[in-house]
Symmetry: C4
Subunit: 284 residues, 4 copies
């Protein structure tokens, strides 16, 4: 008997937290290291947001996945092991948080492998990967498979998991989407210039509930991406708690770590395999 | 006895879907073909969004019009014929999705005719045209008439259909508007940089219902433009369904394909003819 | 006995309509004259929006003020006289809609006087002025006074009328504000790039009602600026009607033309005179 | 017995007003001094907004803190002493409102000291500092401590007060955040280009109430930053009053001046000391 990837739930929720800290800004210019306010804005993520998020997850008894750049894990050596010890998943989120589309293939490979080395050193098990800014290249999923990971979570070709064929075998893709990202709702900085108006937590909650309801209708993967330096703020944490409680009350929603969804997806014969391919023949 | 263009409905709704897929991005730079995430974000439109939209249209038993760039139809040869076979209209949306205002007159003509050739090859009947980005030139409606199409849907000179006189006779204009486009509500990409905050489906629904009510008051054409890669997302599909159900419940709203509205408009003597004209004498 | 400027109303409403038509875009680049869609988007203002607005004003029996660039009045010679004949005020809104801050003093004077010549030719009485984009220079109010007008409506130094001393005597300033402008709520164009998300009419109505209530509390001038190419759209017209009806229902709100408020303001000894002055000594 | 920084309140509110006036714009280009409308938009802050704010504070019997650039205090010599005489705190907000991150260390020091000289001349007691645009450098908190001030309010490393160790001893940091700033909600100017859509006061109130509730849950410092030229507008003042009344009704919220919170924070042994530090080793 084959189990479906969703185990009969109407929708599966993977709460994911991208713990970018300072790297998200330094990747846009190393000179921002001189901006003390901006650096403090980013440090808030691991320092204040992560403990608050872990407490919420404990309260609600749900698992989550934390995507951490290797450089961030290196700077704060207790961060990744501490999260893993609480039963959550730690996953690969590049070394430097520079987007692969801005690198040569050699640079992307080096950055990818450098992060793996950090987690190996810290004895943190890594099963999956998410590209910085989600800006994957066509090589990205090849690197994921080549290094023995089981899934990527950077693409948007569907709103259910799908299989991606590579030269090293199939991996699972757990697709993300801009509408399920707290960045577009909350992020603001003057330099580098990020964001415009800042949305209220009620608006974000309305958006995400609407999407969750849609995904329950279509049986999808609600793969929410939050940043501790954004969603760790007090009012936003209460909204996130309300979202989790809403999902739990639905009765037909399953919470899972990404690696567990990936395993189920790879074992589900009903899911399609997509071969990512560079579009051909567009007139130059 | 002359029939009015609206056949006594308070408002006429033309649901239109611009199936731009990758072309909307590649037109801004062919290098984006290297961006695997961005390409997957666009491929979601025909791969996931269109089937979901067709299902919704079937459920509600309403017709729609799909504007497809020739290049997209070429890449996915079953797309346009499949839509036409379901009873919907397929219409001309340029070949490359490059805006006419960025081309020479010769380039615009070549791009226009290349798309017609694709649809001729696929034996898909084409009655009307919509410019890429709606960025028509003064030549655009001439090309539409010269090639025997009956309508254009790129201009904003009114919120009811109007006739446009050309050197090749009159065509109908089915005007569009930014407020009836899902792009401004939902689109977001970091590169090319598109959008800012992402609106919730409730907000889009509120906006479109307000506009529909206004159009019922003034007896207008509610010419909604959705993109499958945007509106095909689960939560947005539920909102679109709610909008359709609201319109159906009104009891005074008529759903139609663009070509049928164009035919009715060309036969309605009560509609004005506008001669589009480049503004004169603005001081240089 | 001295009459106050507000005649004991809690707030005074001046509905104003800036009929910019194509000039608002051509001022940003004469090449946009080649963009047929953009030009049709602007022509909608006088062609469709203005008649609809005049009908609303008649229905509600309230007066309004239409600020018209001289070039627009010239292109459509029946526009300004037709509005004046309906009992509304026509006012000076530059000739070309180029902002004064982008001109030399001589250019600003020439543009200012060219518009006056158009209205003189059309025998339309002009009492007041509003700078294009509200981008007045320190010379602007001098020009207003020198040419015998009684008020300007471009500055933001207060939210009640105030007197401005000039070399040619005092004029009234009827201050505007970005929050009472439909542009920030509704405007969108891709080229020139204008706007981001488009707000729903409910949002604009909420904003303007909140401001009207605040102005009733502080006894201010609610000087609303709408653009026929924006607010003339069906759903927005219904919201504008709802705003007018709300104000009328308040029972303590007075509607007036700008010129009448200006006259009352100049006659009210309780209003302060401000001498506009370039800020001094800011370190270079 | 040690008193906690919050004196057992669930949350502490510091209402702060940054009275930037023209300096916020002139810092972006001295040429904006020629823009009469823009200058009037900024002058509205001290001329209209501040008296209205002082009246609200009196009505509600709550204290506040006004951060004033030295240049603004110099231009309007009665501004700072008048605020201090009403029992509110006046604090250091740079001299020129140029961000420290745009200056050399010597320039930052000179600007910092020039502002202190203005307030000394005006006999206004200064206890704390907030960087222009909050764009502190790593030197900023050193300057604060060196000149004998007790606190800074520019950083974002937490949402409770924290101690910062410097070469001149510890100071308190009263952290700010973009979500508690009226700028992102309300600011709009075409030149310099600032803002996009303008939010309604209801939205800002919703956002700030959500954050206040979150902060009552987590026992934080609700350090609200408003600008008199923005929040002094009528509708926004009513919303601010509603926020204050909501906080007072909560029964567990304490209002305080920044200097009093800083003193309490420095005396609370339960608060952590953070040593701000430039991030190390990010790959160049």
């Amino acid at each position: 008997m084959n189990q479906t990837w969703h185990a009969d739930a109407a929708a599966v929720v993977t709460l994911t937290f991208d713990v970018d800290a300072e790297s998200a800004i330094l990747a846009q210019g190393t000179g921002y290291a001189d901006h003390a306010m901006t650096m403090s804005h980013q440090a808030y993520g691991p320092d204040v947001g992560v403990p608050r998020i872990l407490e919420l997850l404990d309260d609600c008894a749900i698992p989550a996945t934390f995507f951490i750049p290797g450089w961030v894990a290196e700077q704060r050596p207790e961060l990744a092991p501490g999260i893993a010890d609480r039963g959550h998943e730690v996953a690969h989120h590049s070394y430097s948080h520079r987007p692969p589309t801005s690198m040569t293939p050699e640079q992307e490979r080096a950055d990818f492998e450098r992060a793996l080395a950090v987690f190996a050193e810290q004895e943190v098990l890594i099963s999956g990967h998410r590209a910085a800014l989600w800006e994957a290249t066509w090589q990205t999923t090849e690197l994921v498979a080549e290094h023995g990971l089981t899934y990527d979570s950077s693409l948007m070709g569907d709103d259910r998991p799908y299989r991606i064929g590579t030269a090293h075998g199939a991996i699972a893709e757990l697709p993300v989407h801009w509408s399920l990202d707290d960045w577009e709702q909350y992020a603001f900085l003057p330099a580098p210039k990020i964001g415009s108006v800042i949305e209220s937590p009620r608006k974000a909650l309305e958006l995400w509930r609407a999407e969750l309801d849609g995904m329950r209708h279509y049986q999808c993967l609600f793969n929410l991406c939050c940043h501790p330096f954004l969603s760790g703020r007090p009012g936003r944490m209460l909204a996130l708690r309300e979202l989790v409680e809403y999902a739990l009350d639905c009765g037909d929603v399953r919470f899972a770590r990404c690696r567990d969804v990936a395993d189920a997806a790879l074992a589900d014969p009903g899911l399609a395999t997509r071969i990512p391919d560079r579009p051909a023949d567009y007139p130059g």
